[in-house]
């Protein structure tokens, strides 16, 4: 049931979601979910061969996107500097003594 819904979601993807350019705006979780759905779909063997090639390409793009996002993650610790009105005005490096 869940798988079917997931597949339906992949199937009903709007065209602009399919373009690699829109990957950037895709959240990591959505990208990962789409990738998972694509893999399951590929594994189900229900996809015609030609579409499975497209699907694979899409999956590969999603994978690269996720991987890039993870590899880009690096620790950066900053401290908020607040103005007199209590609003954040900037940041400065934060030292953990």
């Amino acid at each position: 049931m869940g798988l079917r819904v997931a597949i339906a979601n992949v199937m009903s993807d709007t065209p602009e979601q399919q373009t690699p350019g829109n990957l950037a705006s895709l959240s990591f979780e959505d990208a990962l979910k789409q990738l998972e759905d694509i893999v399951r779909k590929l594994e189900s063997g229900d996809v015609p061969l030609d579409s499975s090639i497209d699907l694979y390409a899409r999956g590969d793009a999603l994978r690269a996107h996720c991987q890039k996002r993870l590899e880009a993650a690096q620790a950066r610790i900053e401290k908020i500097a607040a103005g007199s009105d209590g609003k954040a005005t900037g940041t400065q490096p934060f030292d953990t003594e």
Binding site: S27, F28, E29, L32, L35, E36, I38, V39, L42, E43, G45, V47, L49, S52, I53, Y56, G59, D60, R63, C66, Q67, R69, L70, A73, Q74, A75, R76, I77, E78, K79, I80, A82, G86, K87, A88, T89, G90, T91, F94, T96, E97
Partner: protein, 490 residues
């Protein structure tokens, strides 16, 4: 004892100064001032325990309230400066211990306590306040499950509201680094004591107010954290101000205040409650290594599935190829039919042949050589009878030959040139046409004479002969000579 009708007794219409009475009436201000002095001198600073009632904060910032127990009530006031420094937000019904100076308010004939500090009267009272607040805010729906926001799976920026010193922020940062290095914005605040609630609430609202295009990146997750402590230490996180800020925050919030057993109202209002700061970090981010491994696994699975798809398709193709009928099989019926027809053809032909040879034999039986031979013999006999006999023809030929000879001899005698043999000549014109009369001859200038041994030309007139000869001298000379020779012969 004075009677009721005694002059001295009681009040007259007018106040009469009495002799020996030095107690002059006092003005109200005098007595009030005296009272004030007495009260203030007598009591000075006091600590009162009572329940808050009629709590009211005026626009000026001063707080007016009463403290009461089951039999008595005393008014109280907290001037603005002190009101801001209270460690908790007073509520009606909360039992407190107020410390302050007892004084009077002459303008209203009142005595009251001017409170400097006020504390909640013991843990029981604190819990009572806690429950009251919880009920009140809960009724407003601040803790409703449907208000809870989902945490982002992998936040880009994490805002942390906590003390910049101490183990809490260290624990959070360490665990974040272990799991998934992230961009962390620490908003340093006091987490306990005077002004803490205000700072905490301000930080939360500060994060919530950030725009995505601000210089400071807007976090997509906020952690509000504080280490363990007594209920009083954690009290700031029960303050209405903080609870409301958390409930209003547009960014998902994890609260991690105190130990697991300490539940503050901040925990109720937050989208997720973590038992410890470390646990909050674990909730905040997934384990990057796990994700990378998972993605790798997905890649492998996708590749395997893709390859399997191709090999499955290949297999299916092979199956279809196998299932395709063999050409031989496909053509078998036709081939068989062809064979059948071919053999039928042969059989039919042979049958026909047999029939034909039968007919032939039958017909050829009638063909007897004797029959032909007799016909032949008859024909030969007939031919023999028809043989040509030359004797019959030879006589006829001989007779005809004789007749021909006779006729030819007669004809020779009659030949026109026959007389020439006997010395006659025949006259012709220039063209060899025989002229048989003088008249005919005189018409010509040149005549021909035909003799037995030849012919010659003669001219009837010498002049005409010369005239004719002159232009043709060359030719005529030998001819003349010859003519003359011939003439001379005559």
């Amino acid at each position: 004892m004075s009677s009721p009708f005694d002059d001295d007794n009681g009040s007259g219409l007018l106040a009469q100064p009495k002799a020996g009475d030095n107690a002059q009436p006092m003005t109200i201000s005098e007595i009030s001032t005296a009272l004030k002095r007495t009260v203030e001198d007598r009591f000075g600073r006091v600590r009162l325990r009572g329940e808050i009632s009629g709590y009211k904060r005026a626009a000026s910032g001063h707080v007016y309230m009463s403290l009461k127990d089951d039999k008595a009530v005393i008014d109280g006031v907290i001037w603005r400066g002190n009101a801001g420094r209270l460690a908790f937000a007073p509520e009606d019904g909360v039992e407190v211990i107020a410390t302050g100076k007892l004084t009077t308010y002459p303008g209203r004939s009142k005595y009251q306590i001017v409170i400097d500090t006020m504390e909640i009267a013991g843990e029981g009272a604190l819990m009572q306040l806690f429950e009251k607040l919880k009920a009140k805010l809960g009724e407003e729906g601040l803790f409703a499950p449907e208000r809870k926001k989902e945490l982002p799976y992998l936040p880009r920026t994490i805002g942390v509201v906590t003390s910049p010193t101490g183990s809490v922020i260290r624990d959070i940062l360490h665990r974040l680094a272990d799991r998934c290095p992230s961009h962390v914005l620490v908003w340093p605040v006091l987490v306990q004591g005077e002004g803490a609630a205000k700072q905490i609430a301000g930080a939360i609202r500060g994060f919530s107010a950030l725009d995505t295009d601000d210089a400071v990146p807007r976090p997509d997750l906020v952690i509000v954290a504080r280490g363990g402590g007594s209920i009083e230490d954690l009290w700031s996180f029960n303050e209405e101000e903080v609870v409301r800020a958390i409930a209003d925050c547009t960014i998902p919030i994890i609260s991690a205040v105190g130990h697991e057993t300490d539940t503050t109202l901040a925990d109720y209002a937050a989208d997720r409650r973590a038992p410890t700061p470390t646990a909050a970090a674990e909730m905040a981010v997934p384990v990057r290594a796990d994700l990378l491994a998972f993605i790798d696994e997905l890649r492998l699975r996708a590749r395997r599935a893709g390859q399997r798809g191709v090999s499955l398709a290949k297999e299916r193709l092979q199956n279809q190829i196998r299932l395709m009928p063999k050409l031989d099989v496909l053509l078998q019926p036709q081939r068989q039919k062809t064979d059948d027809l071919a053999s039928a053809l042969k059989r039919g032909f042979e049958l026909r042949l047999v029939g034909a040879s039968g007919a032939l034999a039958q017909k050829s039986g009638a063909l007897r050589p004797a029959l032909l031979r007799r016909k032949h013999e008859n024909a030969v006999a007939a031919l023999k009878r028809l043989t040509l006999r030359p004797a019959a023809l030879q006589k006829q030929l001989h007779d005809a030959g004789d007749r021909l000879d006779r006729l030819w001899r007669l004809a020779e005698q009659l030949h026109p040139d026959r007389p020439l043999e006997r010395g006659y000549a025949r006259v012709t014109d220039a063209d060899g046409q025989t002229l048989t009369s003088r008249k005919a001859a005189t018409a010509h200038v040149a005549l021909g004479l035909v003799f037995r041994d030849g012919d010659m030309s003669v001219y009837t007139d010498a002049n005409s002969a010369r005239a004719r000869r002159a232009p043709k001298k060359k030719r005529a000379v030998p001819k003349t000579g010859k003519d003359e020779d011939q003439q001379s012969l005559f």
